[in-house]
Every structure is written in structure tokens, then in C-alpha cells.
Symmetry: C2
Subunit: 457 residues, 2 copies
Amino acid sequence: MNSDRPSVSERVAQQLAGLLQDGSYDRVKHLLEPLQPVDIAEAIGTLPTAQQALGFRLLSKDLAIEVYEDLEPLVQQALLETLRSNEVLEVVEQMAPDDRVRLFDELPAKVVRRLLQQLSPEERRVTAQLLGYASGTSGRLMTTEFIALKQQQTVAEALNVVRRRARETETVYALYVTDGFSHLTGTLSLRELVTAEPDLLVAEAMTREVVSLTTEVDQEEAARLIQRYDFLALPVVDREGRLVGIITVDDVIDVIEQEATEDLYAAGGIQTTDEDDYFQINLLQVARRRLVWLLVLLLANVGTASVIAAQGAVLSRYVSLAAFIPLLIGTGGNVGAQSSTVVIRGLSTKRIQAIGAWQSVLRESAAGALLGLLLSVIVSLVAWILGYQQQVALAVGGSLLAIATMAATAGSLLPLLFRRLGFDPALMSAPFITTVVDVAGVFVYLQLASTLLLPPT
Amino acid sequence: MNSDRPSVSERVAQQLAGLLQDGSYDRVKHLLEPLQPVDIAEAIGTLPTAQQALGFRLLSKDLAIEVYEDLEPLVQQALLETLRSNEVLEVVEQMAPDDRVRLFDELPAKVVRRLLQQLSPEERRVTAQLLGYASGTSGRLMTTEFIALKQQQTVAEALNVVRRRARETETVYALYVTDGFSHLTGTLSLRELVTAEPDLLVAEAMTREVVSLTTEVDQEEAARLIQRYDFLALPVVDREGRLVGIITVDDVIDVIEQEATEDLYAAGGIQTTDEDDYFQINLLQVARRRLVWLLVLLLANVGTASVIAAQGAVLSRYVSLAAFIPLLIGTGGNVGAQSSTVVIRGLSTKRIQAIGAWQSVLRESAAGALLGLLLSVIVSLVAWILGYQQQVALAVGGSLLAIATMAATAGSLLPLLFRRLGFDPALMSAPFITTVVDVAGVFVYLQLASTLLLPPT
């Protein structure tokens, strides 16, 4: 699954540190220039803080900005403090607006205010606009650097616009057409532009059916659209239909990965926030992120303890009943976890919506019952072979069937219910389902055992 | 998280069914032509099988091929059976090679052989080549449709090549330069080509440092590279360095999503295979995919049962001990699940490799001990308040600390160990860790309780 060859940046990092130490600055330039910005960024990130600024200053201006955009947030901040303020300003002024906003999200408010004041009016306007959209929306994700063509331009004129603006915009492959009021009226790919007759009008060459979204739409929706249509970019419009930005495929890949990580962390009972990286936070923050869930589950398990304590009568007479408690709640938890995993992932990838919610719950319940039946036959046999009393074996088998069916139903129903109520379905993920099923499962088991084993009162 | 407005294809599907029923074929064409291929594919997919071929035949030839590529595998197969064999051949012949290979993967071997024989020699050669690479490799994922330029061409000549081949290749934005022996020597983006001086040579305009990979490299590695470098495509070379194909960003998005789903399913204890879609398989297949894990976990839990049965002496004297078993193993399982989730995801996204394996285990163990300490204080207090004996409260608190530390250590160590041994670390995911921790946790708890509560023998 994972290859372990040393990455480009690891190899470079070692050479880089040595060359900087020796003061061989020309050789540093020679080493770095041909590399990809992200590899340079990673190599610089591994240097001691004092050397980072030195290595960074040796980059050509254009490359420096690309490298800066690719640095880890912590290194970006460290550099902001080490570089002279005019150097800082130069970098921040030239950054792509969306990358700049992501940097500002990480910085202390005071630093952001100071930097904002020093930006040129145009860059300040754009940045303030992006910062104005809520985190996690398409407005926040988009860049304001795009090429807008006019309908009455010829294809040849449009190509000239592309040539002129190619260096400064994030993509030249997706082009957008606006009318005199900035309303988005069409779209054109560079592929179409290059192959069209030079004196055709843009209005004739463009596609009028444009898939677009508004600034407040969730960034995950933007990711879904780009993935669905195999687009390289997606236009974002304001409520009046004016083109205000575009979202590019590279940003969307990161959103998809982040979304997957969130789903997975939710399944593992770890709180996530949009902004930061689990592997960069300290131990206390790690503990805090997990403690909430553990406490909720712990208190729910106090419920299980009470259920068991209430059935002291049957337990003290048949101690062997206790031996099967972990098995029953473990299996219930596992079946429930499977169902909730399938449903939560299905909601994220929009597969559930295609089959229908009720259909999915029904399917999971049926699967749970089927699995419960198979497992209860096996367990009853094992218990009987190991020499447990027949009634104990019967109570274990019977309750296992009930628990598996219940677990699968709860595991699929609760996330869907949560979503219907407007909450994040991932909150109803494996750890929570497991605990709910624990309490109910123990209750069913001991109740059934009492009925089978205790004399009627 | 998810918006619920009816999708384009849902709206279209209803109209489409009605129009086909009425025989208004012109209006069908009018309805479908302006839509995105994937929307048309989804709308056709919802039609009854008999109408699917009818709707499909009304598409223009170019559009029909794009739509066919976007159909669900089951619909693709149904159409293969309904369409006349010359119609089938026309579609299959024109499909992009990578999409064709994905279709062939789903079809019965007999059908594939027949179709392969009928393809033109060139398409047959390309398809056989792709089918020769193992599933899940870059060779299998790539397309053989790319534009290769020559070093001695001028920029103007190269642009003419692009114009001529724009319709038939998957991307025109990433261009590759080869020497007389098809060796990859450089790369050039259409952006660079459009902005370069027309009489410059390709050899002068191109970038010589090319990130490429070989056909046998895992497709997830290809996805990581495209994500890391924000590429639109990545060249694939054979062992001799000859350019044989390219991987495009849209295919990579699907790989990233599939990888995330696999991680998540592993965390939920569900087997996955590369090929098929959980939501399309039948109930028996669903049960089979889950049963293996459930059985393994069930048998492991028989171990827990034996541990408990062996401690019958202390349990029969202090029945209240049984009440805390679910709480202890539940918490242990949850802590272990958190650690294994973090480590397995970290391995997939390559974050663990950046901090180092031992460092990660140490971090998780420390977090586990810290969480265990907090929780054991809380639980001991709760137990004491609820009126349990002091020794019971002490046994519960003490074993909780031990269990949490152990669970976090096992949860982080086992996936890393599995990976070192060459297995998939995701096999050591939440359900398995939970069960391992169950057995060990119950043992620690009851052993401690015996020591505290039973008179020395």
C-alpha cells in the first residue's frame, strides 16, 4: 500500500543543510532551482529555523512565492517572524488570494490586521472579501484569479487575453465569459479556444449551459461537482449571478481527502476541526479531542453497569452468564459499527441518496438478522460443546440474534435520523452506536436469561 | 454536510421517461444535447432496460460514447446485450482505452474475448496492453491517449499538433516530449506552449525535470504524486523509460476516494475488494463480506469468556464486579480504536512517515496513559458515589488506567508492525484492536480484583 523509498525532499534536505553550513550559496541555488516548489518547501521545512530564512532568500522571486504557498503553516509563521517586513510583504502581496486567506486563517488576528493594512488596495479588497465568507464554503475555497472573456471578442483576441494573463492566473484551461454586468453567461475551455476558428466570436464558440455554484455552498458540494463532471475548475457566482471566483481541481482533491479523514476520525471517536492537523497538535490537545467522546461513552456505560447490577439475582446464581457479556456486546458493537460505517460513507459519497434511505435501513436490518442467525447458531454450539448449561447456551444464542438485528437497524437508522434532523450523521458513528447497543444488548440478554433460568416469582 | 436539492439527472429522468413513452424523439434530443454526459448517463440509468437502448440511440455519436463511459457497469452490460452488435462495436471501439479496460474488467471473459477480436488492430493492441498490467497499478489506471511532441519541433508546429489531436486525446493541457526512441525527455504545459514564442524549439521551451512513474507502481502512489504536485496529469513510462501512457487528475480523484472508503470500511470491519460497489451487491454478498470479521472477533471473544469463567471465584463473591466489565472493555476498545484510526489514516496520508513510527507510538501511549488517568479518577469517584465497595472502585480505577495505556499502545503499534511485516496495516483496525484489548483488559481487571478482594490463599 505504501512505498518507502526516500522522497525527493528527504534527499535534498540533507544536501541543503550541508551546503548552507558551508556557505555554498551558488550550489544551493543550483540544487533547488530545477525542483518542484512543494519538494523545496518540504526540504526547507526540515531545516533549523535559523537556516530556513537563509534557504528561502536564495530562491528566485517567483519560485519563492510558490514555495511559500507550499510550506507548512508553522514554517510559514516562523518565516514571517524571521524575514524583514518588506520581504514578508512582498511574498504575501504576491501569493494567490486563496492561499493567502488560508495563511491568514492560521495567524494571530493582530498579525493579520497589520499585514492587511500593508497590502495594495486591490489585494486587500480581494482578501477581505474571501475572509468574509464562512470557513468551509465555496466562497472561502475559491480564488479570485480567473480569466473572464467577453462575448463579442473574437477567438484570436481571446487567445491574446489568455497569453497576457497566463502568468498571473491559477488556471488558463477553464475560461469564463461574462456580459457587461459581470454576469456569467458561458464557459470555454482552452482546448476549445485553441481549436476554434480565429475569427469566430467567443459568443459562438462558448457553451451556454454552465454548471456553477454560489459562494455560500458547502465546499464539499463543490468537490462533488468537480468530481462528478471531471471539471478542472468550477465557477462561483454571487446571488445576482455575477462571477466572483473559481474553484480549481487541486484544491478540491484536498477537500475530498479532508472530508474522508473527518469521516474516519468520526468513526474512530475523535473530534475534528476544519483547520488544523492532528499530527501537529500537542499531547494535551490530542487528549482533549478524544476525552469528550470517551466521557460520553463512559457515562453511557454506567447505564450498562446499572442494568447488570439490577440483574444481580440471576447473575449470582449463574456466574457463567457473566462470561458471555463481552462476547455479546462485542458482537453487537461490531455489527452496529459495520452498518453505521456503510451508511455514513454512503451519505458522504451520495450513494445512499441514490437507493433511498428506507431501502438502506431495510437492507442493513436484513443483513443484521442474517448475520445474527449464523452467529447465534455457532455460539450456541460452542457454548454447548464447552459444557455450559443448555439454558445459558439458549439465552446467549437467542439474545445474539436479537442484538445483531437491533445493532444493524440502529447503526443504519440513527445516522439517517440525525441527518434528517439537520445534524452531522457522522456523530452517530461506530463508538456511539456500539455503546447504545451495549446497554440494550445487556438488557435483552439478562432479561432473557432470567426468564429461562429463574423460577417464576 | 449534504444538500438535498433534486439533482439534474433526477429532473431529467422523469421528463425523459415521459417523452420516450410518447415517442417525442425530437424533444428527447433537445432535452439531452445540452446536458453533461454524466447527467445523461444517470438519467438513462433510471429508465427501464427496454427504454435504455432507445434513449441511448437518440444521442449523437460523439456524445453517445461519452455517455456510455459514464454509465454504471450494470447498465453498460445491459446495453451491450440490447444494442445491435455493430452499434456495440462502434461504441467500444471509440471509448477511451482506460474506460474500455474498466468495462472489460466487469464483463464475462467470453464477451471480452469476442469484443477484443472485433476491435481494430490498434485499439486491440492498446487494450491488451492495459489488460496486461495488474489491477491497481499505474499501468492499469493510465490512458494511452496523450500528445507526444518532438524536441526539434517549433512551438508553432507543436500547437498545430495539439489542434489536430485535440478531439481524440483525453487532455491537451499536459504535453510530453520524446526522443526518436520514445524515451520521455521533457514536459510542457499548454499554458507554456501558448505563451512561448512561436519559432522557439520545443527542446528550448520544455522542462527537463519530469516527475514520472513506471507501470507497476501502485495507483495510490500515482494519486499521491498528482495531489502533492498539483499536476493535471502524470506520465507513465516502462522500465526502459519509454512513455507508454498518462494518468489524469480525474481518475486520481476516484482513486483517492476509493482509498478513503477502503480505510473506512476496514475501520468498520467490512472486507473490501477493488472492483465492486457495496451498494450494488446483494444481501448474501453483504453478509459474506462481514461474516469473516465477525467470526474472527467472535472466536477472540470466546477467549474473554474463558478468562471470566476462570475467575469465577471472585465473581461469585462480588457480583458487582460483573457490572463494570462492559464499561472497562468498552473504554479500552474506544481508546484503542482512536489510536489505530489515527495511525492507519496517518499511514495512508503519509503523515506518520514524516514524524517517524516510534515517535507516533510513544505519542499515542502517552495520550492513552493521560486519558486513562483522567477517566479512572472519574470512574472511581462515580463507583464510590454509587455505593460500591471501596476495593471494587479501586480495582475498576486501577485497571482502567492500565487498560487505556495498553489499548493506545496496541492500537498504534499493531498497525505499524503489520505494515513492517508487509501486510496491510488497515487489517489491524478498530474491531480487531478492540477485541484484543477486551481479552487483555478483562484479565487485568479480574486479576487485580482477586488480589484486592480475595483472602490470600
